[in-house]
Amino acid sequence: MAKVLMKGNEAFGEGAIRAGCRFYFGYPITPQSELAHFLAKRMPEVGGTFLQAESELASINMVFGAAGAGARAMTSSSGPGISLMQEGISFIACAELPCVIVNIMRGGPGLGNIAPVQSDYFQATRGGGHGDYRLIVLAPSSVQEIIDLIREAFDLAEKYLNPVLMLGDGLLGQMMEPMELNEEKNFFIPPRPWAASGRMGGPKRIINTLYIVPEEAEKHNLKLNQKYKKIEANEQRWENYQTEGAQLVLVAFGTAARICMGVVDYCRDQGLPVGLIRPITLWPFPVKAFDSILSLDTVHYFLSVEMSTGQMIEDVRLAVNGRRPVFFYGRYGGMLPVLTDVVKEVKKLLLEEEP
């Protein structure tokens, strides 16, 4: 198939349509508005529904309604809007409904700015809202990967009856890359016996998140937790880039990972033994990647490179579990790590730190 040149935000939209999503509810916010613009045009072409809600509170609850009624639904926003959605996301996770939420991160806290950051990592990977729940979090790092992963996002949501969050940043949403479109027709939406879609002669279905008796709420929490354990065991995804023989392994996702790939290329050209682990699932965090790389015994250090003051590093440390030192390099508030600065940091570690 011929390649097309697409913006990241557009790829989220086209990918969703090719994954069989026919319901989008959202509210504009920079830097993800192109996703809404794209779907406003595209949804009517495929007989789908695009609805601009009055707020993020409403859009996530429209997703709750549509998903509970059996539809494949999604919404998207950026940090401040995702914060407003947390109540609804918690409800959807509790009610075990499938849906996809896209967060194109922007600078924060507060109103912040519209520059690319990765500072919603904690919010995304720790559930985000109230209560004990998790979202499956996918972090693409190229436009091609956006369109490939969003289909997987819908399938995972369906498989585990759990919301899936796709975490990108402003740069990933705004940049253009050529990519190959996947086949449109072979998405599969399984039957939904749990959907409250009108009894139509069948049994009564209730979409509910109220468990007023603590004993029952504990049981439901346990059920959710068992599901999360299964996801942790089965769904860790990552990419190893030049990790063979690497003494220093960078850890980065999304845009930061793209920059780090450049760093690795540059360092390898200079004969420096540097590699990269790029987590693709942020939750479940790819602990297995670290176990397998540490078994090789060549690695001396890890360096977590993030567009935040250090959030993913906590998961890196948990995964490394004291077996090697973990260092941090980050830029914040919408500033991007520059290739040469990361290289400087790498050289400093390789030359100055005792292994």
């Binding site: 009055e54 709750f64 059996g70 109540e87 409250a196 009108g198 009894r199 002669g201 009564k204 209730i206």
Partner: protein
């Protein structure tokens, strides 16, 4: 031979209500269920219940049903109706749910002319959380959070939901009814049925505000509460149709 003159509606489950004795939620549940049965729409109806005293409505209505976050029922109903346009979707919301935290959702669902039926239960007080001030609490009315009576200077003015929504273009039918005596209950039933019919005919957004009692938080016996409703609530919130479908308006 005996002739059966009264039977339980199949749109309600055969379980006891949790509502306090004398609370009119039970009557309203029953009226909605009867309307669903009489219009023969039970199999395709999907309800959305609120947070508030009616939070357990999903245990009572026998149709498919959602339990929504506080105030978000109109957004949830929008999602359902857009996904399944041939189903009948209704929300059941109290005054805190609809007129305070969920004001944004209800106004925009109305403005979009969302084809849903909204039943708005107004008893001028927060029942669930212990009798605090509602957006519809009357001036001077004592509640847990207005111990000296609602003062307009401090707490502002009550919101008249029907009057407000009737000027929005997307609404097709807006009416206020009460359930304080048999005559008003018959009228309420008619309005509820009409709200479903407006949806079935695809005319747009329909809302019925139902004045209701809360003997427990008003501190009145059930009989006194009905009188208080008639004397005070109706005086402030006049009953009647605020908007009827255009085609009917022509005939009048």
């Amino acid at each position: 031979m005996f002739k059966k003159v009264f039977a339980r509606t199949k749109a309600l489950e055969d379980v006891p209500f949790h509502f306090c004795p004398g609370c009119t939620h039970g009557i309203i549940h029953r009226l909605i269920a009867e309307a669903i049965e009489e219009l023969n729409i039970f199999e395709q109806t999907i309800g959305v219940c609120p947070v508030g005293c009616a939070v357990f409505a999903y245990n009572y209505f026998a149709c498919d049903i959602f339990q929504a976050a506080h105030g978000r029922a109109p957004a949830v109903a929008t999602g359902i109706k857009r996904a399944l346009p041939d189903r009948v979707v209704f929300t059941y919301q109290g005054d805190g749910d609809l007129a305070a935290i969920g004001m944004g959702e209800i106004i925009h669902a109305a403005a979009r002319g969302e084809k849903i039926s909204v039943f708005f239960i107004n008893n001028s007080v927060y029942g669930m959380t212990g009798g605090q001030m509602a957006p519809t609490t009357l001036p001077g009315q004592i509640t847990a959070t207005t111990p000296y009576g609602r003062d307009r200077e401090i707490n502002g003015n009550p919101i008249k939901v029907c009057e407000m929504l009737s000027v929005i273009e997307g609404t097709a039918y807006v009416a206020r009814v009460s359930v304080h005596n048999p005559a008003s209950i018959i009228k309420a039933k008619k309005a509820i049925k009409k709200a479903f019919q407006v949806q079935l005919r695809g005319l747009g957004f329909a809302l019925v505000e139902i004045l209701s009692t809360c003997p427990t938080n008003w501190g009145l016996s059930p009989a006194e509460a009905l009188n208080w409703l008639a004397e005070n609530l109706i005086a402030y919130y006049p009953l009647g149709d605020f908007k009827i479908p255009k085609e009917e308006a022509k005939n009048v």
